[in-house]
Symmetry: C2
Subunit: 202 residues, 2 copies
């Protein structure tokens, strides 16, 4: 489609995504991006109207179909417990393997712009969150499904989000980065709780 020496939009976005994920919108200049891509700043403006447009395109690029696998797992016709296991495993792998994806979402949440959050919700969450809610309803009738859904996501996301700090906290081990180890821990924590209908505390 494109001459060998010219850069396609996709190529530019592949290079742009990590930059914005690491340093944020204000932490990366059009010069920085052009430099990494290997073209001059002015050439960037041929592909993208302005910096905001480029950022938005990078977000979409990074988000595209990343959570499809989660919906797929949640729609499988297996027992709720098995579905939870599969979901947590898939989610841990997703978060572990796509640090840029998670960082960009974090940054969008930090900015807190309503319109942009709605985009995140449509692009990332909408697809699977309702299915996760249903799973939580099936799993634990005595827990609030919404709070439980958020908790499941939080157990996984926070673990990886805090990784650089976690690694210097007392008692840290290298295997704690392994998505399978994390998934096993999270499922244990959840299943022994959500499967028990009675309360053990006063």
């Amino acid at each position: 489609m494109q001459p060998r020496h010219s850069k396609s939009k996709t190529e530019i976005l592949d290079i742009t995504v990590p930059l914005f994920a690491e340093a944020g919108f204000n932490g990366v200049s059009m010069r920085d991006i052009a430099g990494e891509v290997g073209i001059k700043t002015a050439s960037l403006y041929h592909h993208f109207r302005d910096k905001r447009t480029l950022y938005r395109a990078a977000i979409f690029h990074a988000f595209s179909r990343k959570t499809e696998v989660l919906s797929l797992v949640l729609a499988t016709d297996i027992s709720p417990e098995q579905r939870l296991k599969k979901f947590v495993a898939a989610f841990c792998k997703l978060v572990h393997d796509n640090p840029y994806f998670i960082r960009l979402i974090q940054r969008e949440i930090l900015v807190g712009d309503d319109l942009r959050l709605r985009l995140v919700e449509e692009q990332v969450a909408q697809e699977f969150f309702s299915l996760l809610l249903s799973l939580c309803r099936e799993l634990a009738s005595d827990h609030d499904p919404h709070l439980l859904s958020i908790s499941i996501l939080g157990l996984v996301v926070f673990h990886y989000q805090i990784t650089p700090l976690r690694q210097i906290l007392p008692g840290s081990r290298s295997q704690y980065d392994d998505p399978e180890v994390v998934a096993e821990h999270v499922v244990r924590l959840l299943l022994k709780s959500v499967s028990e209908p009675f309360s053990l505390t006063s």
Copy 2:
């Protein structure tokens, strides 16, 4: 100590902390800060050598003794279950009442600078994390104390961190912002799990 019309360092930091928390280091200019404080940009440089120094001072100011209450609760001589309840309640209240505090920590983790993370660890985490580890060892001999400690923190932090997105997700309710509601949910999730030594899953 200071004449009525001049600004003390503390006054400046009180105003600076929310700005950096909301927009990040690169999202706030010395002009912005000076404007909010009500002085000229050059006057800021009388109090702080440069922008980095001001940022670091703001961080310290925002972090100072915020987690003391957590150590206090964790050092109380009550049953592990009661200590967990008190800790989660105190932690929920801390995170809920101090959004700037949490946002600044998040930003520090996102930047990921080793030296700065060590400062966060010393200023914020060191004090109570070892006590939390001990509590987890007492509570659940069959769970990894480190993973469990991180999970407890994550259940609370993530819930509030994702708040702007959570509020537009399906099934959200206003009471989910209430720290007491969140604490009750988190403790239920944990205690029914960590108090049960046997596994319910294959």
